[in-house]
């Protein structure tokens, strides 16, 4: 599938002005807008480990530094480690009763790195968990972290004191009489309660040393063996230790993966929501443009020459369960409408909208950026529109050429089968193009979108909307002039 929709040949203009292939777009069916990954709100739904598929609540994940406690990764090539069983001869071979012991070690199936390489002792069968590699500087790091926490608290306290001074009048009885909790405690003869975090700590600042710890002399005298030195990737995978030699590598806990849901920015409806369970690859909501917007594929283009009308055959596919009508309009058509729209939107004050929405809007409303595509050809705009029947999965396998009674313009529609139609457009590359330059054609496609949202009881007919979007086709390079 990816080879058909993945190359950026046919691009749709997203609401934000970016051009994306249809497989990368979402379609919000509530506000009828195309949305791309850059103009939706991303939310973390659940955290899970990709290997053992364990689901972790976000607080627990934070506590575990977003890493799985069971699964380990190879420090050498970052693939998952698997455990391997081996038998070890008994300690005293003379003893006839001693049986060979079964042990487990970890092994990477990709680069064949094993825990034996770095001298991690094998584990006995039945024991679980590998020894954690402790950071030498743990105490120091904790002390620094505590210190900063205290600083934060101190600053907060100072800010609060400042606020109190600024307040002219007090309302609480305790404050008016001057009897606060701490004074009461003093009067009763109790020791003052102290916040442990507010106590002064004895953190000594780090001292820069004059001496270089590691002597670098051996670097100058002995030849470097590249196989013994870790790569930058390997060092950054272990930020606590950053080993420089391969014999200091240690298995890393696997990073957790995230399931995220995507939300339309303007109406806050979900456009994509996966099922919560990490075992499932299904979606609760998936409003991908691929299932709602007619797909366009280029069938053939004649060699492009300046000043010559070249035939362009494109295929239109209706992916929905409803019949649709497609009209090709000039590219400027949508610009004119949008300008009118913005004029209208600017005037009425926003009412009835939820607060969060208003907040969001104030921060997120932005005018779509300029579409970054240089249109290099004129497209002949057909006068008639094309009706595409609904998608029928069974018809895909039906070879008995069914006759469809559509009153097509034979000059426009070349071929038709079930929910697909091939139409012929004429393109004429512009004069100002240079030889070998890429030619981009653009037009506005209008299609009838049948809303699938359950409508109110009053009108049982599904609502229909005219939806318009800009399409940019990359037709290939200019081969010459007429």
């Amino acid at each position: 599938m990816a080879y058909i929709v993945e190359p950026d040949v046919v691009r749709y203009a997203c609401m934000c002005g970016l051009l994306k292939p249809i497989s990368r777009l979402y379609f919000c069916r509530h506000c009828l807008h195309l949305r791309c990954g850059f103009c939706v709100c991303h939310e973390v739904d659940s955290l899970f480990c990709g290997k053992c598929l364990e689901n972790l609540p976000s607080t627990e994940a934070k506590l575990k530094k977003n890493k799985c406690s069971n699964c380990l990764e190879c420090p050498s090539c970052h693939q998952q480690l698997s455990s391997k069983a081996a038998t070890v001869a008994p300690k005293n071979p003379e003893d006839p009763k001693a049986t060979p012991k079964k042990v487990i070690y970890l092994c990477c199936l990709n680069c064949r790195w094993t825990t034996r390489d770095v001298g991690i002792p094998d584990q006995e069968v039945g024991k679980s968990g590998w020894p954690e590699h402790e950071n030498v500087h743990t105490n120091r790091l904790n002390a620094i972290m505590n210190h900063y926490k205290k600083l934060v608290l101190k600053e907060k306290q100072q800010q609060m004191d400042k606020d109190k001074k600024q307040r002219k009048y007090t309302t609480s009885l305790a404050e008016r009489t001057g009897v606060t909790a701490s004074i009461l405690r003093k009067r009763l003869g109790m020791t003052e309660l102290k916040n442990p975090l507010l106590e002064a700590d004895d953190l000594k600042p780090a001292v820069a040393s004059k001496e270089i710890v590691d002597s670098i002399e051996h670097l100058l005298t002995t030849p470097i063996k590249l196989n013994d030195i870790t790569t930058i990737d390997q060092r950054l995978k272990l930020p606590d230790w950053q080993p420089t030699a391969v014999d200091k590598l240690y298995p890393v806990h696997k990073q957790l993966s995230v399931k995220r849901s995507l939300r339309c920015r303007s109406c806050e409806h979900n456009v994509s929501k996966p099922e919560y369970s990490p075992n499932s690859i299904k979606f609760k909501i998936q409003l991908f443009a691929y299932y709602h917007i007619p797909e366009i594929r280029i069938v053939t283009v004649e060699p492009l020459r300046i000043g010559k009308q070249c035939e362009l055959l494109i295929k239109l596919i209706n992916p929905t369960q409803h019949q649709t009508t497609i009209t090709i309009l000039p590219l400027e058509h949508l610009d004119a409408i949008q300008q009118e729209d913005t004029k209208v939107i600017e005037d009425p004050p926003e009412t009835k909208e939820p607060l969060s929405f208003q907040l969001l809007q104030s921060s997120l409303t932005s005018h779509p950026r300029q579409i970054n595509a240089k249109v290099g050809t004129d497209v002949s705009i057909p006068t008639s529109s094309i009706i595409l029947p609904a998608r029928d999965d069974a018809a895909e396998y039906d070879d008995t050429g069914e006759t469809q009674n559509f009153q097509d313009d034979p000059k426009l529609v070349v071929f038709r089968k079930s929910n697909k139609a091939v139409i012929k457009l004429l393109v004429a590359p512009m004069e100002n193009l240079e030889l070998g330059e890429e030619v981009i054609a653009g037009f506005t496609m209008q299609h009838v979108y049948t809303s699938t949202i359950a409508t109110t009881t009053e009108n049982k007919e599904p609502q229909k909307f005219d939806h318009k979007m800009k399409i940019y086709l990359t037709l290939g390079t200019l081969v010459g002039s007429q």
Partner: protein, 177 residues
């Protein structure tokens, strides 16, 4: 050199019939050759050591680079080597205990010593000598040095020795005089 030469198979070796073999080829004892592999001794004889496994679709080609002018070059392959599915090996000198993983390619300018593992899909073409226990892995053909050589797969060999003759034609080993 006639291409219709029959391979010399030592006793105890198991060579399936349905494979392409050209030129002067010698198999050591306890070697196992699966069906549908290609062994072509174009530039000179190929000599396999003991207990080598050559799997399906593997291509072992003796093709000396054009600038080498040694007379009658011989391709030596040591013992305990495993050529996995669809690997292409042209290296003229191969030591012992090496593993060529599926779809790897080793060019004819490469010399392979002992205990090396050429990872799946890795391509080695430049003139080089792989040091002992080198492991080539990943899409970037990264190299690292292993602690010890990969273990010979005796369990697999026993199974193959038992099963292959049941389902395939077997070339007869040469009777020792």
């Amino acid at each position: 050199m006639s291409s219709k030469q029959t391979p010399k198979i030592s006793s105890g070796a198991l060579v399936c019939g349905d494979n392409k073999m050209h030129g002067d080829i010698t198999f050591g004892t306890n070697s196992i050759v699966h069906p549908s592999c290609t062994i072509s001794a174009e530039s000179g004889p190929i000599i396999f050591g003991d207990t080598c496994i050559i799997e399906e679709q593997a291509k072992i080609i003796h093709r000396v680079p054009f600038y080498r002018t040694d007379k009658n070059p011989v391709m030596f392959i040591g013992s305990n080597n495993v050529f996995e599915i669809d690997c292409t090996v042209e290296a003229a000198k191969i030591g012992n205990n090496n593993i060529f993983e599926p779809k790897c390619f080793v060019g004819n300018k490469v010399t392979i010593t002992d205990g090396c593992v050429i990872g799946a899909g890795c391509v080695l073409t430049d003139e080089q000598v792989l040091p002992k226990n080198t492991i080539v892995h990943g899409s970037g053909c990264k190299q690292r040095e292993a602690l010890d050589q990969p273990n010979p797969q005796f369990g697999l060999m026993d199974t193959l020795m038992r099963l292959l003759p049941n389902y395939h034609h077997i070339r007869k080993p040469i009777k020792k005089p």
